[in-house]
Subunit: 346 residues, 2 copies
């Protein structure tokens, strides 16, 4: 059996190793400087204070100062940091570890590379490691951490350059409730799931719009489904734009679904749909949806950059640009329905 060290003991980093633990692997969960209280709590009674779940008895817990002993003899390093922790992880972890320790990252999202294009975190890490050859893998697909902790059936995709290593890693994690596909199309998988924050926010605008029209609690699905359709259309275009394979829409659509219902992005979409200005909604939800909004802003900025350069067409992304107008420019919600209409001649 192997040793898996997780750095970043947030919800996803802590949940993803549960199936591996049940497979008999040793789990060492290391909190960053931001996770101090989480580790303290876990040491007390295995209770994860932000995920509000009890982790299996047998997990080993470490504060960041104990990193070195947590890494000793490890077979796999899991990055559990959020998209805000990417540079910290690069400087403090990736630049220090041995090249033969493979890394599996749960961080979702993409980042704008120097050339203005959206690149994946594995690609970002690789560029900044300047020749240090760490085997980087990432996890995509629909998964909320607490439901994985509850052992609800979950289907994800591990991606990376090395299929042999992916298979080995899958063997450590696969469990009766955790199902894993593999892909070497890192850009495709990561792009498909990075878009979900923007589009989950977009779809849930309809939740708030129905309430604005008919009162809190009113529910309609035609308008949500309409925005879901348009989201799938634009996500497929974004996949093409980044060079990812079209098949990955499978993960994109699933991740959009789970984010609309299981995620926190829904809260802000609903408030905006009801007519609350963005700044006020952000105040109301202080902290809760920060990461998803930042990812959405990044995506909007990157697509606008491509449009400015003539590498993308604004007409292809009316919903994404509208969401960006709302969260960046303070625009009022006014779904550009007509812009979604197409004529297809075969």
């Amino acid at each position: 059996m192997g040793i898996i060290t997780v750095v970043g003991s947030g919800m996803m980093g802590s949940a993803i190793v549960i199936p591996a633990f049940l497979n008999g692997h040793e789990i060492r969960l290391v909190g960053t400087h931001l996770d101090r209280d989480i580790i303290d709590g876990l040491r007390r009674d295995n209770r994860h204070i932000t995920m509000k779940r009890t982790l299996p008895d047998g997990f080993k817990y470490y504060q960041i100062e104990e990193l070195e002993s947590a890494l000793e003899g490890a077979d796999l390093l899991v990055s559990g940091v959020s998209s805000f922790g990417v540079d910290w992880f690069l400087e403090n972890i990736l630049k220090r570890i041995h090249e033969d320790l493979p890394v599996l990252s749960v961080t979702k999202g993409m980042i704008i590379g120097e050339e203005g294009k959206l690149i994946t975190y594995p690609e970002y890490y690789k560029r900044n490691l300047k020749g240090k050859d760490i085997k980087l893998m990432a996890v995509g697909g629909p998964c909320t951490s607490y439901e994985l902790a509850d052992r609800d059936d979950t289907y994800v995709c591990f991606c990376g350059d090395d299929m042999e290593l992916l298979r080995k890693t899958k063997a450590m994690f696969e469990a009766p409730f955790y199902h894993i596909s593999l892909s070497t199309d890192v850009t495709g998988v990561e792009c498909a799931v990075a878009m979900k924050n923007t589009y989950a926010l977009a779809v849930t605008l309809a939740v708030g719009l129905a309430e604005r029209r008919e009162g809190i609690g009113a529910i309609h699905y035609n308008s949500q489904a309409a925005l879901f359709s348009q989201s799938v259309r634009e996500m497929r275009r974004l996949l093409r734009l980044t060079g990812g394979r079209d098949d990955n829409i499978v993960y994109g659509a699933g991740d959009l679904y789970v984010t609309i219902f299981g995620g926190r992005t829904r809260l802000i979409g609903t408030l905006l749909g009801r007519g609350m200005p963005f700044e006020k909604a952000m105040e109301e939800l202080k902290g809760v949806t920060l990461e998803s909004v930042v990812i959405a802003k990044r995506t909007g900025k990157a697509v606008r950059t491509l449009i400015d350069r003539g590498e993308a067409d604004a007409a292809d992304f009316p919903l994404l640009l509208h969401v960006d107008d709302i969260i960046t420019g303070g625009a009022e919600v006014d779904i550009p329905w007509t812009a979604f209409e197409t004529e297809t001649l075969v």
Copy 2:
């Protein structure tokens, strides 16, 4: 302004003409022999007894015996029959009307043609009209009738062979809450939305499975999203198989979404997921989900025919075949998770 005659005053036939009525067109709603009580009710107070909505004052109502006067001077005929009424509509309406009256059909689903392949209803009609050249169009995309009647924003696709006619028809129906794309890829649009019954049943198995594990009312989305992902994957394969364009997954995914949440198929998927045998679930829901189950059975049968002939690969449709085993063969729910896993090498 034009005259639109609807034959089949069920929920969708009655709802789809609301936007056209608001655009100033004359609406003549004709009940079939099965709709007698609906028409009686509407004549009394514009209340639609099965949709449980009041239709706009100004609709004209007809019993089937008054068909001739309802058709007099009509510019467009809407077929509002369910998939059970297709042959009745063919024999009693299509074979009798004038060739220059275009037809828009709201009937969803596909049918097994003589050669064992899935064909669209417009194609089925065309074959059986033996040279009579009626301009047939159909509606696809996510739309529940009562939400359209409530004027929730709805986004659909009108498809047919003649783009000019599609544009003209769109102009009659397009409204601030009814948004329409157009396509001449009839097979693609119809195939994408025909699959939704099978896959909505599949996704909602997870609703019941979570309840079986944790008690009624327990809700998880990872497993629903996992099945949603796999559904999108198999729907794309079915599109390829029938020769429809891949873009239509946009409508398929949206229609799946609205059927999971706004439709009646959810009831049966949930009961089956909880562990209730199919026959018992059907008894419990007597009548309610009949059409969706019949469509699912048809789809299963057609795909099995293609597999038997070597034109499709069973390994490509594990979820569809499992649903078919449940509803046709009485199999127990046991999601074939491992069969969903793929390896993608780029």
